[in-house]
Symmetry: C2
């Protein structure tokens, strides 16, 4: 393949785990990459705040610079791996406004300020690629935007946070409590010292916003995402799920209905025979339903320096190829504008686990409360207890508002001693 | 989005299940497709051998033509959905030589004559897209060629034939014999009256050739693929697999080693906790191992009119967009030329199930035969029998030639009464 064109100049912003792996791959695979791009690839420089801090020896000392503006201004492709909102946002906008292509793995920035970045890219006719921001190494942007370009995505269910998947997995397989598993995960380095961003669902919420934007050709921001974490999940919840043939997963859900688009993150009951149920440990998976293609699932590592670097490199090759050919890539803009629905308007199902007095007429009283709110009951399961009965009621699909009002009334009535837990159900027929 | 460019003229060759669904989607989604292409889409015509045969009413009678040459010569994009080698091959070459883009779902043609077609496309600078030929609706071409463009694929394990996956699944879950399940599958329409192409592994072999070409940037033809079907699998094999924590799947395997590329199809023992083990019924899945990305899996429907049409439409949108912009797409050619290894040089593992006399020294005699061929034993499992003992020996990874020679000698020695079955193992550490 001829590589007579001018080399494409790549600027890398940030030199953490992912940045280091990206630099390593760029330098060690240079020849192969050049063949795929159709032009040489040149590392223009690596921006770091402090050039005196020692780095992995794979990063050439001469490539380090603390002058981000000059680096961006001399590059054809800017690879943003700093994370955080600023200065990442300003530098990306600076690159796009110059017509340089941008590759980013920054999910927080895309979820919070994506609209501004997409607009700048459109206005400048510049590429903005972000495969690594969605689900680490798992290819999703090209499959959803290009392979399904003649199809309509109706729903996405994603396990997009490895820490929470690991915690729920350990709780399920070892019967441990949430606190025990999180402490062990912190000891092993699988969970952060402050795990809030993971266990509170915020990391998953940022990815849900990006997934929804991708699937529905629509700008969905972090503020549009309803978010509930896994901190309240108890061993009893896990056991009840197992007994009813389900597992608990923290899911990012993005759904298109007749009235709009619903985007949410919450612990979810999934049937054990659903493809998402078998996704173990730190792996991620995104389940996509499309009108013509039917059910698809994409599975792989959602984090880690090397897997994430793989996704970044794929994007670099794509945009560098466009730069070498003087063009912009085929990733289209977000042209749709469905209403983003509030959580009350989400259509979902509940499994309500409660204790009721062990006396005749209880089930009738409970059932009438569901009926009064127009919520259909799909199944009832009784579990024996001392002086009371445990009940798990699974509902048909209903509006979240109706389901909530039902649970409110259950908490108030004498027919129910205690509502132990309320979990949403996805993936059942 | 502006659509002022000339409409892109689409010719559809063939009007079976997939062709009809493609026409339906082209006509009903015309406006949305135009927005994604950046130009109008026009159905130039549908080639059928006999225009007098009644068709689904979605296909406009006026669009039908039996003059394939004239249709091809007037089209910007030719969609080949006829199947078989001729006249599909000649018409595709005619289109490519004119510089028209081609989208095909024809796996047999690609596996047998792919080299000729890729060369014609390269020579003419024309697009040749074939997502639907690999694994139906499952997006694989873009993820492997573009998302992993900065990575190196080392191995692919694919469940790429729904009929055999259904048969093995039913044998496993219901304890039925191969003949019983195939008869039932034929009755239900899940298996053809003559199921040879499926159960003999030939359909999977064609897809293995395409997958290997895709993953290793290499021309791999049907003749390069070692192929073994599922007709010899017995309920005893299934039961022994279950007892050792494995399931039997018909896998397409494409592997890159230091010495070359190995491509094969055979029934395979897979650990129950491997992501491929949970792929049920008529679903397909392709498990990809890459150096940086690690383990990825792509799951979905591998056949069916509507799912296949989804993949075809995705390709049509891509190539039509290139046509509207006067260019060729980014799918690169096959530039690598690793040696394609004969089956004897494949590195794999065996599980050998045999009956041995119930007397001291038997295991030592058996083990020494493995040792003599340099084949390491990973585990031995004994099963009680009447007057004899059943043994399952699982080996370490070794060359197929050494494994075969070992089994030959086991069949000849007095230390073994009978070798019941020999199955390869993949997906274990």
């Amino acid at each position: 393949m001829s590589t007579t064109a001018d080399p494409v100049k790549i600027a890398v912003l940030g030199c953490g785990t992912v940045g280091t792996e990206v630099v390593r791959l760029l330098l060690t695979q240079a020849e192969d990459l050049a063949a795929r791009v159709g032009a040489g690839i040149e590392l223009a420089g690596v921006y770091v705040r402090d050039t005196s801090v020692p780095r992995d020896p794979v990063v050439p000392v001469g490539a380090l610079t603390s002058d981000a503006d000059a680096l961006v201004d001399g590059a054809d492709v800017v690879v943003e791996l700093m994370g955080g909102i600023e200065p990442a946002r300003t530098l990306i906008l600076r690159a796009l406004n110059r017509g340089a292509a941008v590759v980013t793995a920054n999910k927080a920035l895309l979820a919070e300020r994506g609209a501004e970045l997409y607009e700048a890219a459109d206005a400048a006719g510049a590429d903005l690629y972000y495969e690594a921001a969605v689900a680490g190494a798992i290819p999703l942007v090209r499959p959803v935007r290009e392979s399904l370009a003649g199809d309509t995505v109706t729903r996405i269910l994603g396990i997009v946070n490895g820490t929470t998947n690991y915690v729920l997995d350990e709780m399920t397989s070892k019967g441990l409590s949430y606190d025990e598993v999180v402490a062990e995960a912190q000891r092993l380095g699988y969970a952060e010292a402050d795990p809030t961003a993971d266990v509170g669902g915020h990391d998953a919420a940022a990815k849900a916003a990006i997934l929804a934007s991708l699937a529905f050709h629509q700008r969905v921001g972090l503020d549009d995402v309803y978010c509930e974490g896994i901190t309240a999940i108890t061993p009893d919840d896990i056991q009840a799920a197992t007994e009813t043939g389900r597992v608990i997963k923290l899911l990012a859900v993005a759904e298109r209905t007749d009235t709009g688009v619903s985007v949410r993150v919450h612990p979810t009951l999934v049937p054990v025979d659903h493809p998402l149920a078998g996704v173990r440990g730190a792996f991620n998976a995104v389940f996509v339903e499309a009108e013509a293609a039917g059910e698809l699932m994409f599975y792989g590592q959602g984090a880690g320096g090397l897997p994430t670097a793989s996704a970044v490199l794929g994007d670099i090759v794509s945009v560098a190829r466009h730069q070498a050919n003087g063009g912009k890539g085929p990733l289209e803009s977000n042209y749709a504008s469905h209403e983003v629905l509030p959580m009350d308007a989400a259509l979902t199902r509940y499994a309500v686990r409660m204790s009721v007095p062990d006396r005749p007429g209880t089930l009738a009283a409970v059932a009438s409360i569901f009926a009064a709110h127009g919520v259909g009951i799909e199944s009832v399961r009784q579990m024996a207890g001392k002086g009371h009965a445990g009940l798990i009621l699974s509902t048909h699909r209903a509006y979240e508002a109706a389901l909530r009002a039902t649970v409110e009334e259950l908490r108030d009535t004498d027919a129910v001693k205690d509502v132990w837990s309320v979990l949403r159900i996805e993936g059942e027929l």
